[in-house]
Amino acid sequence: MKPIIRTEDLGKYFGEMAAVHAVNLNVQQGLFTSVIGPNGAGKTTLINLLSGYLLPDTGRIFFRDTEITRWEPHRRVKIGISRSFQVMNIFPRMTVFQNILLAVLSRLNKNSNPFSSLKSQKAAVEEAEKILNEVWLWKEKDHPASQISHGDQRLLELGIAVATDPQLCFLDEPSSGMNPIERIKVLELVKKLAAERKTTFVIVEHDMDVVFSLSDRIVVMNRGKILAEGKPDEIRGNQEVRDIYLGEEI
């Protein structure tokens, strides 16, 4: 299988600290991949580099055969890379529906249309409504996004991320700050979306139960480097990985 995204010797340094160092990552298309590691391992920095939010100091990034190392985020979205954020990042003053609609309009390249009404954008409206149903937010559709519950805001963020119809989607702790029930709900949704939309998801997640039950492939990071990667079983048996998680049962 061909990798959907791969890096060569990727590095990002903040002063003396190597947030990401010499990372050679290969994400296979269609495999649900999780990135795990202790705090400060460089997981979020890695996602920021891959999505264009940060620019690397060394190395290269390829999306399929295209080098995208220094592309701006919005260009990466246009070729099929999308993401969500660790800290909630939605459009708070807009309604839930408008949040999704904006992403859909962007995908359809309709953003710059200055005179037509939003309602007249039939294709975009239909698609946005479909996505609202997919992420279980139909009832909240006309509420300002800032006023729905935290759990629903996370669902909304997921909705925005998939509304650009990505081939590859990074989710940075999609279930952070949620109670266990909501957590399961969100991750089941991610799984459902992965199956229905044929999107390759790469998630950063702390809940090991979730990671091991959901993932086809796991990448373990520590101190900016990739420590191990493989199938869940291989990772579970890896002594080094056990060591960094302080011998926890994983």
């Binding site: 701006e72 919005h74 807009m94 904006l102 309009l105 995908r107 710059s112 200055p114």
Partner: protein, 310 residues
């Protein structure tokens, strides 16, 4: 209901010259100019999240360009459209430099560019007349050769020209902010990073917003010289840039009608306060302060309740 009220307002404004004197017409024209000026300003602040302190610069470019055209070729339409076009070009160019930054850096940059235009108006005597300004600008007839020619000498006639331009520009503005473009700008205002991560080129859209704001400032500016028959450097001064800021804060930044209501309030309050004291800005400042601290959404949002964007 809303449509009916709007229709009523337009009819009222249309019939206004029948009932009121020159002074009220003159004031109403100024309210309309400030409305256009503030609407453009609020596209940047309320819809895109950028606070510009240099909008008077583009107002002045529109005003001076219109004045120069009218002095050379007395055609009202040519003067106004020419003024708008020049203001648009200048705002596009300065926008390219300004939108590279946001927040306070953007505000300071726009303040600088605005004051640069002020200095030009002040010092470039051959072009602008220096501190004397441009004088004797004719209120040229509204004319399309071969079609019609309307004399503009009576104030009422010019009032109707301004009214038509204002209605058209407000309608256009309504379409813009309720279009995909308007939604995109609001997305950038709400979260720049999120907008970029759904595939929006934040910089390009900021530039579009900046240019439209400049066009509206330019239109307001271009409508001024035929009214006053002079243009002087203070129209470019930063204190003039503060007028749309105050009007918008008075009316409400997150509402469509806020800047328009604010512009009317600005002139009405000014008109009342100057009867008692020449320090009217202090009183207005206090009123704005109370509004900002007490009703953050401005006057218009008091009628809509919390958080509604109209």
């Amino acid at each position: 209901m809303k449509k009916l009220a709007l229709l009523l307002l337009v009819v009222l404004l249309g019939l206004l010259p029948l009932f009121v004197g020159k002074y009220t017409l003159y004031m109403t024209i100024h309210i309309m100019l400030l409305s256009l000026f503030s609407l453009g300003f609020n596209l940047l602040l309320g819809y895109t999240g950028l606070l510009s302190f240099g909008q008077a610069g583009f107002f002045a470019v529109g005003a001076y360009a219109c004045a120069k055209i009218l002095l050379a070729a007395p055609s009202l339409l040519l003067g106004i459209l020419g003024g708008v076009a020049v203001a648009g070009v200048i705002s596009l160019l300065l926008g390219l430099l300004s939108i590279r930054h946001t927040r306070i850096y953007f505000s300071m940059l726009t303040l600088c560019f605005g004051m640069m235009i002020f200095s030009l108006a002040w010092k470039w005597r051959d072009m602008t007349g220096g501190d004397d300004g441009l004088v004797g600008i004719p209120r040229a007839p509204l004319e399309v050769p071969g079609l019609f020619r309307i004399n503009m000498t009576p104030m009422e006639n010019y009032y109707y020209v301004v009214l038509v331009f204002t209605i058209l520009a407000v309608y256009l503005f309504y379409r813009i902010v309720h279009s995909p473009l308007g939604l995109t700008l609001q997305g950038i205002r709400d979260s720049e990073t999120r907008a970029a991560c759904v595939g929006i080129s934040v910089r390009n859209y900021r530039l579009i917003s900046f240019t439209i704001a400049g066009l509206y400032a330019g239109l307001a500016g271009a409508l001024l010289p035929p009214l006053e028959s002079t243009v002087t450097p203070p129209v470019a001064h930063w204190s003039h840039s503060a007028e749309p800021v105050l009007a918008t804060l008075l009316g409400g930044i997150y509402t469509f009608a806020g800047p328009i209501v604010g512009a009317a309030l600005f002139y009405i309050l000014k008109d009342i306060i100057v009867r008692f004291t020449e320090y009217w800005l202090i009183c207005l400042g206090v009123i704005v302060l109370v509004l900002v601290m007490g009703f953050r959404g401005g006057v218009v949002s008091m009628f809509y309740g919390k958080g509604g964007q109209r």
